[in-house]
Every structure is written in C-alpha cells, then in structure tokens.
Symmetry: C2
Subunit: 338 residues, 2 copies
Amino acid sequence: MRLTVAQLSESELLARIFPRLHAGTSTILGPGDDAAIIAAPDGRTVISIDTQVQDQDFRLRWPNGYATTGFDVGWKAAAQNLSDINAMGAEATAMVVSLTLPGTTPVSWVEDLADGLSAAIVALGAGACSVAGGDLSAGSELVVTVAVTGSLEGRDPVLRSGARPGDQIAVCGNLGVSAAGWALQESTIVPDRYTPAAAHAAELFNRPWPPLVAGPAGARAGATAMMDISDGLLRDAGRLAAASGTGLDLDAGVLRELATALEDTAAALGADSLEWVLTGGEDHGILSTFPAATTLPAGFIRIGSVVSAEANQPAVTISGQNLRSVITGAVGWDHFAV
Amino acid sequence: MRLTVAQLSESELLARIFPRLHAGTSTILGPGDDAAIIAAPDGRTVISIDTQVQDQDFRLRWPNGYATTGFDVGWKAAAQNLSDINAMGAEATAMVVSLTLPGTTPVSWVEDLADGLSAAIVALGAGACSVAGGDLSAGSELVVTVAVTGSLEGRDPVLRSGARPGDQIAVCGNLGVSAAGWALQESTIVPDRYTPAAAHAAELFNRPWPPLVAGPAGARAGATAMMDISDGLLRDAGRLAAASGTGLDLDAGVLRELATALEDTAAALGADSLEWVLTGGEDHGILSTFPAATTLPAGFIRIGSVVSAEANQPAVTISGQNLRSVITGAVGWDHFAV
C-alpha cells in the first residue's frame, strides 16, 4: 500500500516537501512564516501566475500508456512560469506554489513534484530562484498553481507592444516539438517504440525546456518586443501584432525548414509537421522583434518582418499571403484557418 | 438562461473581468503582458499564496440555505491573503489571481468574484494594492488561488520566532466570530431569522475583516512576533510558541470576556462561545507579542504573557494550567484537548 496524502497531517506533508525545494540566492526569508521575503534589488518585482489542472492540462495516464509523473508536473509548472519571467527580459527570483490534492494522491507523487520543480529551476539555469513558500489544499482533482517573481536587473521590461514596422521577427527555442510529443501520447504508439526523434519530442512535451538565457539576452540586444510562445506561434504572433498595432509577416521557407526535423514523427502519425510548428503550444520559446540592423543574439533565428497593419488584412501573414492560401498551396494543408 | 463561462472564449471572459479589477498605485505594469511589474521601493518583496477550494473552504449552498456569492469568495480570497502580508508588518502591493472554473459557472458569478476582490482591497484599507494579473483554467470544481505581494517600507519583518519570555501577548481583531458564522450556516437557522449578533457573525464569516492597520502599527510599536490567526487562537499560538522556543500563557478571564459577545448565538446553537474564541479560524486577526513595557497600539488587547518553555508542559497554557483542566472546570467544556 502506498502512503497517501490523506494519511498525513498538513505539517507532516510539508515536512516532507520543504527539504526538496530549491533555495536560491534571491530569498531573504524562505518558507515557514506568514509570507516569504524576496530580494528586489532594482526596486521592482516582475510577477506572473499559471495553473495546471488534471485532465485539462495533463492526463495522469495517456492513451499510449504514458503515466505523467509528479516530476513531470512539477517541472512543467516551473518551466511555464519561468518562461513568463524570461519573456519580460527578467531573471526569476522566487516561486510560491499552491497544490490542491485529492486525498488519494500518493505522498511519493507529491515529493516527485517538489523534486521536479527544483530540478527544472536548476537545469534551466534559474538557480537564483527559490521555492519560497506555498499552500496545500484538499480537492477532488489535482490543481498546481505557481506564482513566480523576477528581477529586471535595472533594465526596461520588453513588452508585447513594442514591435515597429521594419523590425525583424525572431524566435529562440523550439517550435512544434511539444505538439509532436502531445500527439504521440494521444496516439497508439507506445513509448517503447518511439524513434529517437519521437522520444525527444515526448521528453520536451512532458518537461519543456524554455531558453531562459534568451529573455535577458534579447533585452540587452535591444529587442523591441518579446513574448512567451505558450499557445502556438500563430496565435501568439497575433497577440503581439495586436498589442503593437502592426502586422507580422512570417517567412514560409524558414517555417518549412523548422518543420523538417518533425517530419518523420508527423508521417508516423499522419500529422502535419508544419501545423505543429505554426500552432503547437507549450514549447515556451520566445517570439521577439528587433530593429532590422540588430545582430540577433545567439540562439535566435529570423523568421520574418514586422509590417504595417493593413485594414482587411490578417495581422499575421506568411510570405505576404494569408494563411489559408499559402498553406493549401505549399503543403496541402487546408483544414486550418486563422 | 444565464450566460456561462463555457459560452465565452478566454479573451472574452478576461475582457469582462479586467475592468472590475482594482488598480492601485503600486503597479508599474498591470494585466495583459506575460507578467506584471510591481513597485518594491525598499528592494524587498513580501509574498504569500492561498487557495480556496469549493466544498473544502466554502460551500456554494449551506445547510441553512445561504448561497455563497462570487463576491463572498473574491472578498475572502483578498482578505486572507492581505492578512498574511499584514502579519509580517507589511503593506500589500499587488495580487495575481488564478481561477479554475467549471464550464457551468455563470459569468455573472465570476464578475461578482472580481468585484469582491476589488471591494475588499479598498474597504480593508489596502488601496495601494492592485489586482495585477491572473490566469483562467477549466476544471471540475471551483479553485481560487491568490498570490499577494507586499512592501515592508524599510522596516524589519515581524516573524513568528521573536517572542521572548516576559513579553506580553496581544491580539488585534476578532476571535471566534467567524466560527460562529460558520456554525450558523451549518445549522437549520435560516438567515432571515438571524439576530443582529448572528447576522454580524455570518457577515464576517463570508466577508472577513482583517485589521490591516494592525500589522504595520504593531511593527512600528516594536512587536517582537506576529502572525495571522487563520486556524484558531490555540493552534496558531502553538505555532508561534514553537517558532519562538517559548511557552505562551493566556489569561482565562480575558478570553471568557471576549466570548461574552458570542454567548447568545452559541446558546441558540447549543455551542460553546469560549470554544469558538479558542479554536475558531478565519477571523484573520493578529496574534502578537510585545516587550512588557510597551504601550500596545490602538486595537490591541493584552491576552497573556510569554513564558519559558518547560519540558513536559504544553506550549500553550491558560492561566498557568493546561487546557483540559481549566476548561472543564471553568465552563464545563471537556470535549477538547490540545
């Protein structure tokens, strides 16, 4: 019989979690009092909050048999929150975590979640960030909420609204890889039969790897706009265009090239690798714009240009054409419209 | 037919929520980008997180017929989070809010929740605090998580661990009133038949009123320890004693006097008003200790003295005796042991 959270008091469960939480250098006072205290050296704190809900954001068991671990959920909670701080051009300083747990949740699953949070913080390069506090509740389904703080280190934040016509558009990080991993886990291809490319995609779906060096590097290099790509390139590009009052024209050739690494996996599933690149979320790369003359920082790839917003034109175009006509012509993909 | 959240897109729902969120003076960048930015003028940010779960922390409909409103849930979420900041001796600067909502939730209920959050912030005197961002998720039950930040305004934080033998123990705020309101809603006494005292208790259970002036005032007056009383005086006093490595001796006479205002309500329910004072949570008053010679700030009442921790003695005593013997002798209450 596995020990469940219903068999422990809140303080007993906290006593098992606390030692597993990463303690970074930004914490002035850690867990255990009414609140934590975090350093904010430039007099400002960046803050964001994100939630994962069982059966909405993750399945405990997937159609292909993969069982989501507590480590996966903790890692993803950390990664998606760290990405929001990254996208402002900031460095993460702390997380506070609220867990809503069914009484039947194994204690080991919660310990794994704490390990996943801490492992992601360290592996992704956010070692100054602490897990500084939290809250435990009972509920009928798993809900994991993380609020994350960050420091701009004296720099201006890079907002979604700063793109200007003539700027180059660039991305840093993966596009469509997480979507491929999701599609694999929704398929009948069991993990034991994954190709190396498929295993890589599933790994990055379960434990995303946002490029945390990119946000501050982009800010230092003069990015005019940045945002976390969490809901797919096209949708998030539409948001950046709307916030900036511009259009965004993406380069069809570059996008097709980015899709080639996913082609074998897509073929095995009867899926479209370009669709993954254009619409796949949760890779948590950075969408950014820079002045045309700027040399892009390491890891950024140019994928298009900012254009003027035109009446009766979609905000996001691909090589000057609207998506439906380009995609139908280029790759036979006619089941998508923006 | 009431409009439900399932009938709106996320951006449509956010468009209804955003205008209702209080914008305080501490926000440098509000909702709409990847993260918000909050002022941290003394280079530190206090942070805490708290969650309410449907059917755990509140019932949508109570046995006595009372229907919890979105306004109640929003108010309570704000109040309990503001209290954590208060208990550090800090002033709140911002909240970020994560809502997990069943698709059947009426949109008007969510709008009421936003109104309740904002109304509590203003009414409780935390007008500098903004609701600076948030996250929406679908789920099978309502889960409301708030993370709150605060500023110490250059002061040292007041921790749970600073009580010293000889200090006076004081409280600011209500004790047992929220517990009386909870007991009423769990009873068969319908709200229409409440006495004025009962209506007051129910009001404070649904919309708690933490004394936000007390935290900074206590800190300025030299409080040696403070904490939010969220789980009941005895339990939280035990935590403060443990953190400080001391005992706490409470004054039986003062506690009985504090219970008198609840006696009629307790009699109507066959309950014990002193039990409410000693064990009732969610009033979110402040438990504090001050040097013996300190004149207590306005609103604080002396309820006992900090004593040395003694082996084989409970950390919390009442007029020098352990709880069971005192309470059994004084008020016939023998169903409780600590």
